[in-house]
Amino acid sequence: MRATKNASAEVLPNSPASAKPEWMKKLADGKYLMMLVTPAVICLALFYYFPMYGLIIAFKDYKPFIGLMQSEWVGFENFVRFFNYKYCWRMIKNTFLLSFWSLLWGFPAPIILALVLNECQNMKFKKFVQTVSYMPHFFSTVIVVGLLTMMLSPTGGIVTKALESLGIEATNILADARYFRTLYIASGIWQELGWGAIVYLAALTNIDPQLYEAAVVDGAGKWRCLWSITLPSIIPTIITMLLLRMGSIFNVGFEKAFLLQSPSTYETSEIISTYVYTQGLQSNSFSYGTAVGLFNSIVSLSLVLISNYVAKSVSETSLW
């Protein structure tokens, strides 16, 4: 490294400088930092930016044995093929709806839990509820879907049995496309309810108790306090969280949909990321799979940018 030659010239930034040009001094001053950042830069380059460069195969007809450079350019052919695929809109719709319904049902749940927990006077009980409800957040997707599969199994699943004893035929819930979204969303709430409440609980503890005291003196009841003090105080947090979620509405995780789906539920369960996997890695259509994935990334990136723009103008909070 060139900078190491200047080791003798290394001085405190504000001490009288030698005659070296400015940029050399900067290099000499920052050389140890550059060494420290090297592993991170290598990781960034190899595992983040190199794959981004690899996105160009979306515009090529990539053949592994010819190589990336020699493969033929095909322009937007792969994208056109995707938009002409008969299930294309079904997948886009499924991706969007899965996310949209998750947001609609899943977003208010942690807020409600946080509001109720905040009212709880018994600290031990509060702590217990928190400990229990945070726990599923740390379970893997395989475990959550595994538990779901087991409990709904036609052969001896406890939920199937309970429904049967109520006279409801429930032998086929996992293979029925109508229930896929319900299962996906319900298990999502089960897993993230407590964890999602942490942020709101923190916002709630920051409210000045004097506000409540003053309100009670003025004759305000519980509901009035909730409506006029508690909710307005956590609205900024709610808006920020909502916008964050809106931005990622087209960014549905691969794992859970993949694990929970089966060909019999594709009508509602096939989303873009699982299609990318089956096309790109199981059928080895690398270019086509990349093109579909790129389409998905571009849509989600635009949504992040839009929601961030809205966030900036509405609440003066933004991601960057």
Binding site: K26, D29, G30, L33, M35, L36, P39, A40, V41, C43, L44, L46, F47, Y48, Y49, F50, M52, G54, I57, V116, L117, E119, C120, Q121, F125, S133, Y134, M135, P136, F138, F139, S140, V142, I143, V145, G146, L147, T149, M150, M151, T155, G156, K161, L193, G194, I198, V199, A202, F254, E255, L259, V276, G280, F286, G289, T290, G293, S297, L319, W320
Partner: protein, 293 residues
């Protein structure tokens, strides 16, 4: 609080909270109960939320002994532990050095630009297929490196650490410099010893995601002897691949559901066991993340 305690509101609140607790606990309790119950009780579906042996309350560890003695599961367990330990160590090294340098963006040549590059990876990535081709091109397919390296440097964790390091007192750093320390030795002797809280928090986040990792192993590994627990878990629980158990299952006659639940329990129990002690670190991590986020 000079408030009468037993109001309707109090009752509804407590009912709601108990409902949440029961809903969360139920699948876990049921899973553990079935895995601890006798074969006959499982086959007749008489197990609810406590274990039964021969129609009475009781527990047996027979299924666990059976499951853990299977080479497939034992190897997978060992692999998961190796991936988790190595992955966490590598991630902490790359993150702490990288985040410290990036927290001094004004002195690090190109630091501001690098910070932007880190930020971009939070919102845009090459995606699944280019990621796979990249690992393949690097010759890492079917090796441990494909599991422990790609996510060692995560933007979110880096930003949490960076904002923590930014809070390190300038005076201490300056006095270290006067004593002849450079940036590397300052990080090692002064900053890291006072950063155990953030190291523990990030270390735990990384460890949990390595322990739970499924997509990476699914895409990058083909060799069964390298599979982590999550892949084996899926094979047994969701695809009912019971070859491993066929021969023995006939002799010892364990119910299929007992075996499946016991396999899940084996993967979950370490998390349930350590989690309550580490809870405060996790919560701290969320708070740092959301303040800066």
């Amino acid at each position: 609080m000079v408030e009468k305690k037993f109001t309707v509101g109090w009752l509804l609140r407590n009912l709601f909270l108990w409902f949440v607790v029961l809903m969360v606990m139920f699948p876990v309790l049921h899973m553990i109960s079935v895995s601890l119950s006798g074969t006959w009780d499982v086959i007749t579906n008489s197990v609810g939320v406590w274990p039964m042996v021969d129609g009475k309350f009781g527990a047996t560890l027979a299924v666990y002994k059976f499951v853990l003695a299977k080479p497939l599961i034992f190897t997978a367990y060992k692999n998961t532990i190796v991936y988790t330990v190595l992955g966490t160590a590598i991630a902490l090294f790359v993150l702490s050095t990288g985040a410290y340098a990036l927290s001094k963006a004004d002195r690090l040549p190109g630091g501001k630009f690098l910070n932007i590059l880190v930020m971009i990876t939070m919102f845009f990535s090459g995606g699944m297929i280019p990621g796979f081709l990249c690992i393949k091109w690097l010759g890492m397919l079917d090796t441990i490196w494909a599991i422990v390296l790609p996510h060692a440097f995560g933007a979110y964790n880096c930003i949490i650490m960076r904002s923590f390091f930014q809070g390190f007192p300038k005076e201490i750093e300056e006095s270290g410099r006067l004593d002849g320390l450079n940036d590397i030795t300052i990080l090692w002797y002064l900053v890291l010893p006072t950063s155990t809280a953030v190291l523990a928090t990030i270390g735990l986040f990384v460890a949990v995601s390595q322990w739970n990792g499924f997509m990476g192993p699914l895409i990058y590994l083909n060799d069964e002897s390298k599979y982590p627990l999550q892949i084996i878990l899926r094979q047994i629980v969701m695809e009912s691949v019971m070859d491993e158990f066929e021969g023995a299952a006939r002799d010892t006659t364990f119910a299929e559901n007992s075996i499946k639940y016991a396999t899940i329990a084996v993967a979950v129990i370490p998390i349930i066991a350590v989690y309550p002690f580490l809870q405060k670190y996790f919560v701290k991590g969320v708070m740092i993340g959301s303040v800066k986020g």
